[in-house]
């Protein structure tokens, strides 16, 4: 029987509330409107995770190199302006080295450093600067040596004996043995890259160089707000063709649905790694899809110390049982290609082996029966739940789980968060049946990294402990081959050996789709994990 608020009181409360709401909307509306009317032509890319440090030699992962590669350049780079369809294997092209010569015995590389190039901090590029950088990554005794940089770039410099700047614009690198993938390794960026940093900046900032990037690339560092954005602006003094864009902003948006929403709402111009199920809808809405064939393999390593996986027939049967087309076409909606070789098509050693990797359940069952497992067995598969280049690992693993169930193999999936998984993966398979990873390079040398007995985990990324003397021998010949053609021949042979023995189970090759707003032009998806933005333009009204 308590009397209620009288009518005036209630109205007053409501109108006060309405007033507050109006104020909020008014303020936020003015915030939303001010988004327009920006004269600068800036491209905003929604990326899948926060980037690592902006120190190219120390940073790991493609996500970061996609940013660092706009600011930093190695001696040798790729031509990334030619789309994948035209160049399945990306062409090497001179980077900060204008040209180079390789000695007869394949042990000495002479680089002619490009003249007239200045770093973003105004320092001139010369042979001395290059030597300074190489010593940071390789020479334990040099003051600038960085263990982290050395660790990341280990595969590039492993055979190097000596580095000397013989004159102002010449650097000579001498190795203990011929290393045919050297030039392509110089251009890599998946782990640490060999992007050259201003020595003056390194001297000045030391450990903090990542906060004050100074490279030679087409864009220079402007601003970084962790978790929010990394802004780059055009380097007007760029030695090559200057970019058309005034600047580029990388915005980390970890949630795939969040990226798609941001694109739809006009907050970003480009998104990386769209959710496969959103691609078709976005295209229908008028967004552009750009994808290619980077050297990417989403693969499983078999644990050779496992009672089942050590049997070649079992491995072959698994390879034959997996429905690669189903994964690519249904689950991933065409954002990947079925993988028919261990190597990605983006290198010269690619050999398509549909016989080993096409689906054939009857043959798979036969093989299992030969090995004595008609009734199947139970094994485990470990993967991450997310991560750079991993596409959608858990659903893919579930898909494989269902495929293998059809030949009687019960798979228990174990998942980990990406970074933890990386650490776990590097330790080796342990008692896990299969371990998943996605990787790849445009040099066939990658096969060596993941299958040679020198690289057995935990000393290297051969996490399945695969060891095959025959393969080792052929790969060794490939590495020390004097000519490119000879090397390629050996690599292809090695490739076939690995396929026949089912050393790994490649599943799909990523098409690395990017979704572009209608106004974005000049975006090229080359056969590489990163991109060249110099030719891109954006029309915000587009």
């Amino acid at each position: 029987m308590a009397p209620g608020l009288n009518v005036t009181g209630r109205r007053a409360t409501l109108s006060a509330l309405a007033g507050v709401l109006t104020a909020v909307f008014a303020l936020s509306a003015c915030g939303a409107n001010s988004a327009q009317g920006d004269a600068d032509e800036v491209l905003i890319i929604g990326i899948e995770s926060e980037a690592d440090v902006l120190d190219p030699q120390v940073a790991g992962g493609w996500v970061t190199w996609r940013i660092n590669s706009q600011m930093y350049e190695p001696l040798v780079t790729h031509d990334l302006r030619t789309p994948s369809e035209e160049a399945p294997v990306p062409e090497l092209k001179p980077g900060l080295a204008e040209s180079w010569e390789v000695s007869e015995d394949g042990k000495e590389y002479t680089f002619n450093i490009r003249q007239g190039v200045t770093f973003h901090d105004g320092t001139d590029l010369n042979a001395e600067a290059v030597e300074y950088n190489i010593r940071r990554m390789w020479d334990e005794d040099s003051p600038q040596y960085s263990a982290a940089a050395a660790g990341q770039t280990n595969f590039v410099w492993q055979f190097v004996e000596d580095v000397t700047a013989t004159d102002e614009y010449t650097v000579v690198v001498r190795m203990s043995q011929p290393f045919s993938p050297f030039l392509r390794m110089l251009a890599q960026g998946g782990n640490g890259s060999t992007g050259i940093i201003s020595p003056a900046a390194l001297e000045e900032h030391g450990e903090d160089i990542a906060e004050h990037p100074a490279g030679t690339g087409p864009f220079r560092f402007d601003d970084r707000v962790r978790g929010e954005r990394i802004s780059l602006v055009r380097n007007n003094d760029y030695w090559g063709e200057a970019p058309a864009l005034d600047g580029v902003i990388f915005r980390p948006i970890p949630d795939p649905a969040g990226r798609t929403s941001a694109l739809r709402n006009g907050e970003v111009d480009v998104i990386a790694v769209p959710s496969p199920d959103s691609v078709q809808a976005l295209v229908d809405e008028g967004y552009q899809l750009s994808d290619g064939q980077p050297p990417h393999v989403w693969y499983l390593s078999f644990n050779m110390r496992d009672e089942y996986m050590s049997i070649p027939e079992v491995r072959q049967a698994i390879n034959l049982a997996i429905d690669r087309e189903g994964i690519s076409d249904n689950l991933l909606q065409g954002t990947t290609e079925p993988a028919y070789d261990i190597q990605a098509p983006a290198n010269d050693a690619y050999v398509e082996r549909a016989d080993a990797y096409g689906r054939d359940l009857d043959r798979a069952r036969e093989l299992l029966a030969e090995a004595g497992f008609e009734d199947g067995f139970t094994t485990s598969l470990m993967t991450s739940v997310d991560g750079s280049g991993q596409i959608v690992p858990a659903p893919m693993a579930e898909f494989i789980q269902q495929n293998l169930a059809e030949i009687g193999i019960t798979v228990e999936i174990e998942t980990m968060e990406w970074i933890s998984y990386l650490g776990r993966w590097a330790e080796g398979a342990g008692d896990v049946g299969m371990m998943q990873m996605s990787w790849g390079m445009d040099t066939p040398y990658w096969l060596y990294i993941v299958t040679s007995s020198d690289m057995i985990a935990p000393s290297g990324p051969n996490v399945g402990y695969y060891s095959n003397p025959e393969l080792d021998e052929v790969m060794d010949k490939a590495i020390t081959a004097a000519t490119e053609d000879e090397a390629t021949e050996y690599w292809q042979r090695a490739n076939e050996i690995a396929t026949d023995d089912a050393a790994l189970a490649p599943i799909v090759n990523d098409r690395a789709p990017y979704i572009l707003a209608p106004g974005v032009e000049g975006w090229v998806s080359a056969s590489q994990e990163w991109y060249d933005l110099t030719g891109v333009t954006v029309n915000p009204e587009g």
Binding site: L27, V53, G151, D255, G258, S261, E267
Partner: protein, 320 residues
């Protein structure tokens, strides 16, 4: 007074020390090796060992912890192992962002939750009461990432009122307060739901109790209008427990906003901490959690103080 503050500061320090010890021990259990994380997939054993040495991870645990404490006392929280930067430079901006989000969410909780509780209490078990309590409870029971995406779908994509993510418009970094506010509305609302329900329910229950007090009957009998009885007398007397609960909600928010931060790409501490935990980045985790613990402890100290100040018995006596 000074002795009291001293005691509180000491106990806060003790709690913080305990917090760092717990984190330190906890992180020893994280699988993997930060050196390995830094070097990535292809690193060799030697390279990993070299980096471990550089980071001091090869020292015995007590030495590592003592070293850390020593740094803490001198105000040096260390360098992040994975980001290779002083942790304060990483944490503080992130922490500010999380505080902005949490504070906004708290404002929503207080501005909506308390009146909701009061109105519900006015007619306990009435229609409004039932609907309000049911919806607030339902709001608190929705997985926040689902709700966040729905909010984005409706208010950002369909209606276009708010941006979908981030905390500023990168095309216009000088957007100012309006820009921040427009980015803040959806995530703050999503983050507010759980504490809002708690605060509304608490308010309702305390208000119901208060309304049954004798002094409220005295005031009613003296003809004081209902508006004053509820919004002045009842609310004022119900305030202490509500303030306490609001203080406790800060703790929930500081941890709970992580999901919101992920969905809305809010550059807060939550996701950074989560990554740091998985990367075994001890100094970063230590600093982040210490900040959160410190704020939590301080906020609750503030709430306690407010409760104390709200109680006229702690004020000066007028008569003996």
């Amino acid at each position: 007074m000074i002795a009291m503050i001293g005691r509180r500061v000491m106990s806060t320090l003790m709690v913080l020390f305990g917090v760092s010890l717990v984190i330190f021990l906890l992180l020893q259990l994280v699988p993997g090796d930060p050196a390995r994380t830094i070097l990535g997939a292809g690193a060799t054993e030697d390279a990993v060992a070299a980096v471990r040495a550089e980071l001091g991870l090869d020292q015995p645990l007590p030495v590592q912890f003592l070293g850390y404490l020593q740094g803490l006392i001198t105000g040096d929280l260390g360098r992040s192992l994975t980001i290779n930067q002083p942790v304060t430079e990483i944490i503080i901006p992130r922490f500010q962002n999380t505080m902005v989000l949490s504070a906004a969410a708290l404002v929503i909780c207080v501005v909506v939750g308390i009146p909701l509780g009061i109105l519900a209490a006015r007619r306990q078990y009435g229609i409004f009461d039932r609907i309000a309590m049911f919806t607030s409870l339902a709001g608190a029971s929705v997985p926040v990432y689902w709700l966040g995406l729905m909010l984005i779908g409706v208010f950002a994509l369909n209606l276009g009122w708010f941006p979908t993510s981030g905390m500023s418009n990168p095309r216009n970094p000088e957007g100012g307060f309006g820009d921040l506010l427009s980015h803040l509305v959806l995530p703050a609302f999503a983050a507010a739901l759980v504490p809002l329900a708690v605060i509304a329910r608490m308010t309702r229950s305390v208000m119901v109790d208060t309304m049954e007090q004798d002094y409220i009957r005295t005031l009613r009998a003296a003809g004081v209008p209902e508006r004053s009885i509820i919004w002045k007398h009842c609310l004022r007397n119900a305030m202490p427990p509500i303030v306490t609960v609001v203080g406790l909600q800060i703790g929930y928010l500081l941890g709970g906003v992580i999901f919101v931060e992920v969905v809305f790409s809010w550059p807060g501490l939550g996701y950074q901490l989560y990554t740091a935990i998985t990367q075994n980045d001890m100094p970063l985790v230590q600093a982040g959690v210490l900040f959160i613990a410190l704020v939590f402890v301080l906020v609750n100290l503030l709430a306690d103080t407010t409760v104390g100040l709200l109680d006229p018995r702690t004020r000066r006596k007028v008569t003996a």
